[in-house]
Symmetry: C2
Subunit: 202 residues, 2 copies
């Protein structure tokens, strides 16, 4: 059916490059509008002006399509290393795909209800989307600990996701969109006073 | 159609007391299973073994039904006042309807996706469900400030929802169910070190 399927080999083009990105962008747009539970491959195909067959050639179901779209949002893969916990966290959280990005927070809201009742999707989301973000933050805290910036006795499993939790909660439950000023205020009022080692002359 | 509509006045019984609570319980059960977007009055009526007409006599639409069910979960209306910020927060968060209650966290997950695209429901949820919880925590922090427990310069709008944010984020994004030990650890590792005034001999 596709115009490019007319050669004698009926060799279907791979979905890649710009076309792939267009489909992933359409996925994010539909996801933000209706949420994961009500997203259909049909709706994404229509939005991307692609055939459903094209989508299924690349993604076997909506779970793999959505996870793939969300992974593209994760932004920088390098862990910031400025030598300061505060600057590393600001750089990580306020960059592309960070909690100040509306695309990121909208996409999280779009999947949370599904996560509660779709164990398979929840596992993939936590492993492939949340996992790399958590790992980046964890490394930032570990480097700060190794530099002697942190006080003794901190549980990094508890402390390192706290900034994201506070900022996303304000968005989800209170309706306040996160922005870099909010991230900085949460750092300066809560996270840094809680975790930094006392300065030598205190 | 209802068996109780047979008297000559065709006076319909009010939905109240035990019957009302059964319908609200059915609402919470359906909500946890499918989320707000996919919840229907039909499904709640079937679960509660009630007619749809019975539901509509009391609630004009699913929004008012769900908000009513969520408000019943909010637990104690009195603000704890033990004389200690730590004990007040533990009491408030670990009591009925607090963040350690699976009913509360499941119900939040069930509505967050809808909140992103249903402005009217979001407004009602934030005003009638989140609002009273936020107000309780805010009062706990204000009392602590008035007792001199808090350090100077704190932004209570930022600080008072932080505990809920950290605990709910662990549930939503990481998949770790909140429990009283977690609430205590977040208090002792993050919130209290961030907000308490230095002790006099420090």
């Amino acid at each position: 059916m596709s115009p490019t399927d007319t050669d004698t080999q009926v060799q279907r083009p791979r979905v890649e490059g710009e076309r792939e990105q267009e489909i992933l962008d359409a996925t994010m747009a539909v996801l933000a509008e209706v949420g994961y539970d009500r997203l259909t491959m049909d709706a994404v195909a229509a939005r991307a002006k692609a055939s459903k067959a094209t989508l299924y050639r690349r993604w076997s179901n909506k779970e793999t399509l959505v996870i793939d779209a969300l992974r593209r949002l994760k932004g920088q893969s390098e862990v910031p290393d400025t030598g300061s916990l505060r600057e590393d966290l600001l750089s990580s959280y306020c960059g592309a795909g960070g909690v100040t990005s509306p695309e990121a927070t909208d996409s999280f809201m779009a999947v949370i209800t599904a996560i509660a009742h779709d164990e398979e999707f929840a596992t993939a989301f936590r492993r492939d989307v949340v996992g790399p973000k958590s790992e980046t933050t964890r490394q930032i805290f570990e480097r700060a600990r190794d530099r002697g910036e942190l006080r003794d006795g901190l549980d990094l499993d508890l402390v390192s996701p706290a900034l994201a939790g506070i900022v996303l909660h304000r968005k989800f439950m209170i309706g306040l969109p996160p922005d870099p000023d909010t991230v900085a205020a949460v750092l300066d009022q809560i996270i840094l006073p809680a975790v930094l080692a006392p300065t030598p002359d205190a």
